[in-house]
Symmetry: C2
Subunit: 324 residues, 2 copies
């Protein structure tokens, strides 16, 4: 692309980008249902997405960690994204995960998301090599942003060192923001380390960098310090109360609401979380097919499932049944 073509495209989309404010609130990293033969199950996915939006989720982050996103091929992710759009899920509410080990894959998925008008993309750093330098990670993100070459692209950096083992530190964020102030829109901080979130908030939130926490445990604290919401696994089963806290975080009930959603999360966290969430959906929707996970994950054993449901007690999540 010539520099001239780049500039003119930037002008066009700077106007377009003004149309819609950036996404804030509670996003669910949507679980991916699989058929018995382990193929993705678009019909169940669409039903689940609609339910999540009906519960007040501001958006959906398909193909994240909870979505078993990295267990899906690029083609499977492309196909599922197209099916969500074909089912009239508003792209302005979608933040698909697009970060892969191979640059070409990340570019391809991010290009599609930008072209389809997605609110943003949730971008892991390339995560195979460990102990890589900030120079290398900067170059990885920079190459993707340049190659996507679309001013509609909004990148949410995905910091999840407990899983990816490759993190996104403050200096890297600073460099990326300096180089790509429009494309680099925010972060999902799934470090589980409030100290890190606080440091990111104080360094960058003031200038409009959007900080989502990766667990609803930190939602109230995040909102009080200038954050914009959360993208949390438990949003898949407990969206209503989490959304209520997001809406009412300035009210006297906020602490109590935070305590309530923490208690639900604690009941779930005693188990492998993705399998546990699928177990909950299977149970509450009366739809055992939801239990299927892709290897290397495994579904809960009967004992684990019974323990989980006992720990959750009388909680009702209001999921629609199979015919809902």
């Amino acid at each position: 692309m010539t520099p001239k073509a780049k500039t003119s495209r930037k002008k066009t989309s700077a106007r377009a980008a003004k149309v819609r404010p950036p996404i804030t609130g509670v996003l669910a990293p949507v679980l991916t249902p699989f058929k018995e033969d382990l193929r993705p199950d678009p019909a169940r996915l669409i039903r689940h997405c609609r339910w999540l939006l009906s519960q007040g989720c501001a958006g959906l982050a398909p193909f994240g960690t909870t979505s078993e996103g990295n267990s899906l091929s690029v083609e499977e992710r492309e196909d599922l994204l197209e099916r969500l759009l074909a089912a009239k899920i508003d792209p302005g509410r979608l933040m698909p995960g697009t970060g892969c080990c191979a640059m070409a894959d990340t570019v391809r998925l991010s290009k599609l998301a930008a072209r389809r008008g997605c609110a943003g993309v949730l971008m892991l750093p390339p995560f195979y090599y460990k102990g890589v330098s900030d120079d290398g990670l900067f170059r990885a993100f920079a190459e993707v942003i340049e190659r996507v070459g679309d001013d509609r692209l909004r990148v949410y950096l995905y910091h999840i060192p407990p899983v990816s083992q490759v993190g996104i530190g403050l200096k890297l964020i600073e460099r990326l923001l300096a180089a790509y102030p429009k494309a680099v829109a925010g972060i999902k901080d799934s470090s589980g380390d409030w100290g890190n979130t606080q440091a990111v908030l104080s360094a960058f939130a003031g200038s409009g960098f959007q900080v989502f926490v990766g667990s609803e445990r930190f939602l109230l604290a995040n909102m009080r310090h200038g954050g914009v919401g959360c993208i949390t696994a438990c949003g898949n089963v407990n969206p209503g109360p989490i959304v209520r806290l997001f809406r009412d975080w300035r009210t006297p009930e906020a602490e109590w609401l935070q305590g309530e959603i923490n208690a639900t999360r604690s009941a779930i966290e005693g188990h492998p979380v993705i399998a546990a969430l699928k177990e909950i959906v299977a149970h509450h929707a009366g739809d055992p097919a939801w239990r299927t996970v892709r290897p290397p994950l495994t579904p809960l054993s009967r004992e684990q499932a019974a323990g989980l449901l006992a720990a959750l007690g009388q909680r009702q999540f209001g999921m629609p049944g199979l015919t809902g």
Copy 2:
């Protein structure tokens, strides 16, 4: 596939498999050269492969860790494999890396390798999720083997916990061998932990399970305990002496040879290894294009490069120049 069809296919290829003994010796996890725009460079790759074979390498393991294999998309790996074959590189000498996070990708690459008659495939476990169970990993490998459904498939398990963070333990190997005694052919142990290699050797080498070490430092020890060779990064630049140790491991010179190749490795290991190997090829072949790495890796700085070449001293690797 019906059980009957499976059985009859197994019979056919048990005969075919007898034609050729399994691969042993020194394999190079071939460096992947990139063009300035970061596209793979098939011409330089083919030239490098031919040189490695001319130096006595028994085989080539493209798309391994040293190859930046996980920084390549599935399509890029398919294309490069086809180009190697089109350049008359004997498939019986190839052990391409095929293990991806997404099962469909691993199946697709492994199917191609088996169909093309490759000696084997080097298969990482799915490596995004950490702390997964042996049940989940067993299922991951089992699904791939079943879905490839080709009795020509020979899987070499790729155990490299320092990078993948997801390892392949003894109990898992035992389960896989019990279920797929023909398909599960061996392991590349890149743990860097001789105790682990020894345990694998004593448990499985006696029954024909092929143990390659992932560093030439352990080559002599591996051969003395029933191993079959090594697949090592330094094979890319120092194949001759490593091959000589493999051939002469029973001779009185073996200890001295081991010491020599260790010294070369030590000079390299003080630096980021993949960039250092590319620097060496660039320098000795007089071909600076070889320095290019894909993000998140970075090429050596000038100072690092100078330090590396100084550490290597007068070593000559006999690489052909640009016109070689």
